[in-house]
């Protein structure tokens, strides 16, 4: 069985763009620069940029993908790409405050 058929654990996670990361639009997508760890990362597709920007406004990564109209067939590759962005701290887990409001 392909591992792609198992939902990626990241899909249920609440993520956000790291506050020290700046995105600069480029023809291929965007450059992300992390002012904290000084890492420069390429977001190699405009859709990745849209999702990265949408993360903070949605409860889960999956919600952000859906909101950006990313076809479910592409979710596994997006999960992989964002897991790697999380490793370089370009995106990070967001602390969701429970029971507020």
């Amino acid at each position: 069985m392909s591992t792609d058929l198992i939902a990626h654990p990241l899909l249920a996670a609440a993520l956000e763009l790291h506050p020290q990361v700046a995105l600069r639009p480029e023809p291929f997508g965007a450059l992300a620069y992390h002012y904290g760890n000084r890492r420069l990362v390429f977001l190699k597709h405009p859709d990745m940029v849209a999702v990265a920007k949408a993360l903070g406004a949605h409860d889960t990564f999956a919600d952000a993908l859906a909101a950006c109209q990313i076809a479910p067939a592409r979710w596994p590759s997006f999960s992989k790409a964002f897991a790697s962005l999380q490793e370089s701290d370009v995106v990070r887990a967001r602390i969701v405050q429970e029971g507020v409001g």
Binding site: A22, R24, P27, F28, G29, Y33, Y35, R38, L40
Partner: protein, 376 residues
């Protein structure tokens, strides 16, 4: 998108540079024999503080994330801290290269207190004999004192920047040990025949056997050692070194020199690679986006004589600056082609009586005149 298609995309140029080097002054307390900008004396035409700030304003608008400041010795400028602070406050991080002469205890503390600032101390030998032969008498102690002061001020992981030469390649492990002893990061870059290097390259550049040594060493030390992507010509020896494996000149890289001239990269200070000046109407942004030179560098480049070589995809024909200043055609092999094609071409050039005059000279020379003995 695969890594290859990303590189293909980068070769057509970015909206703003990733790696912008800005040499603040041609003045320097040292006269290193391989100085890529032939620095020594200040140039009267150097940008004023106000002009430099206008350039920084434009870089902020272009969303340049960080700049690499060099020289000359950038700390010679009286407004050095003012410009660095202005840059950082504009959201443009600063990495600056220095010989360390002016990093005393007080300056080290001031530097340690700043955000978004990286420092590279240049050192070309692990002992005074090896280092001072290239960088001048006393320069080893000067650099080590600066490192000690930064360490004492708790600066954090500064960088030790080494230009690989025939004389210091045997010391790679010792450089690493020195960096580790300070908790510093080691940076090793390639020697180019640029600036005063035009005249010292023959004596300093690594032998072909040493190039293999550098490659193996970099492969073994991986991502812990920075290289500024400068050794991609060695990729013809095997699997690719970490990095983009391409010449970024005018595409992702450029140089602003002390008088505001914009060149395709720090190693080609020559009229042929001058794209414009930040004082021109439209400033740096217009030069980056519209200059004829940069536009042409972003078009597909011919592999020329290297087209039939199986290693071309790996080495990309090597470094434009290295070819140019050794008198080799730009669409042919690098003078340090690991397969030996460059060496063969250099030998042919040398056999011609006019060879010397065919080698281009750097655009400017700010070397200090030799001290004249007093007339009696």
């Amino acid at each position: 998108m695969s890594a290859e298609s990303l590189v293909a995309q980068l070769k057509t140029g970015l909206d703003a540079p990733i790696c912008l080097t800005w040499e603040l002054t041609y003045a320097c307390n040292l006269q290193c024999v391989h100085c890529l900008s032939s620095s020594g004396q200040r140039d009267d035409r150097e940008l004023s503080t106000a002009e430099a700030k206008r350039v920084l304003d434009q870089l902020r608008e272009l969303q340049v994330f960080y700049i690499n400041i060099g020289g000359g010795e950038p700390m010679v400028r009286r407004d050095f801290f003012e410009l660095v602070e202005y840059s950082v406050a504009s959201g443009i991080g600063v990495k600056f290269s220095t010989n360390g002469a002016f990093i005393d205890e007080e300056k080290a503390r001031r530097l340690a207190a700043m955000e978004y600032l990286d420092i590279q101390i240049s050192l070309d030998g692990v002992d005074a004999v090896t280092n001072d032969a290239v960088r001048g008498i006393g320069s080893y102690d000067m650099a080590r004192r600066a490192m000690d002061n930064l360490a004492a001020a708790d600066f954090g992981p500064f960088k030790i920047s080494v230009v690989a030469t025939r004389q210091n390649v045997p010391q790679l492990d010792q450089f690493k040990a020195l960096a580790d002893s300070y908790g510093a990061q080691l940076r090793i870059t390639r020697l180019r025949p640029s600036g005063r290097g035009v005249d010292s390259w023959d004596d300093l550049h690594p032998t072909n056997a040493q190039q293999r040594e550098i490659y193996d060493w970099l492969m073994a030390n991986g991502e812990n050692v920075l290289t500024g992507d400068s050794f991609f010509h060695l990729n013809a020896l095997g699997p690719a070194l970490p990095g983009l494996n391409m010449c970024g000149a005018g595409r992702v890289v450029c140089l602003i020199d002390p008088i505001g001239d914009v060149y395709a990269c720090p190693f080609v200070i020559h009229d042929e690679f001058r794209a414009g000046n930040v004082r021109d109407p439209g400033g740096f942004a217009k030069v980056w986006k519209q200059s004829d030179l940069f536009t042409s560098l972003r078009e597909p480049q011919s592999a020329g004589a290297c087209a039939s070589c199986g290693a071309f995809d790996a080495c990309q024909g090597g470094c434009m600056a290295a070819k140019f200043f050794t008198g080799l055609p730009l669409d042919g092999p690098d003078p340090e082609c690991v397969i030996g094609h460059g060496e063969a071409q250099l030998a042919q050039l040398a056999a011609q009586p006019v060879a010397v005059s065919l080698k281009p000279r750097p655009a400017m020379d700010h070397t200090k005149p030799p001290r004249q003995p007093a007339l009696t």
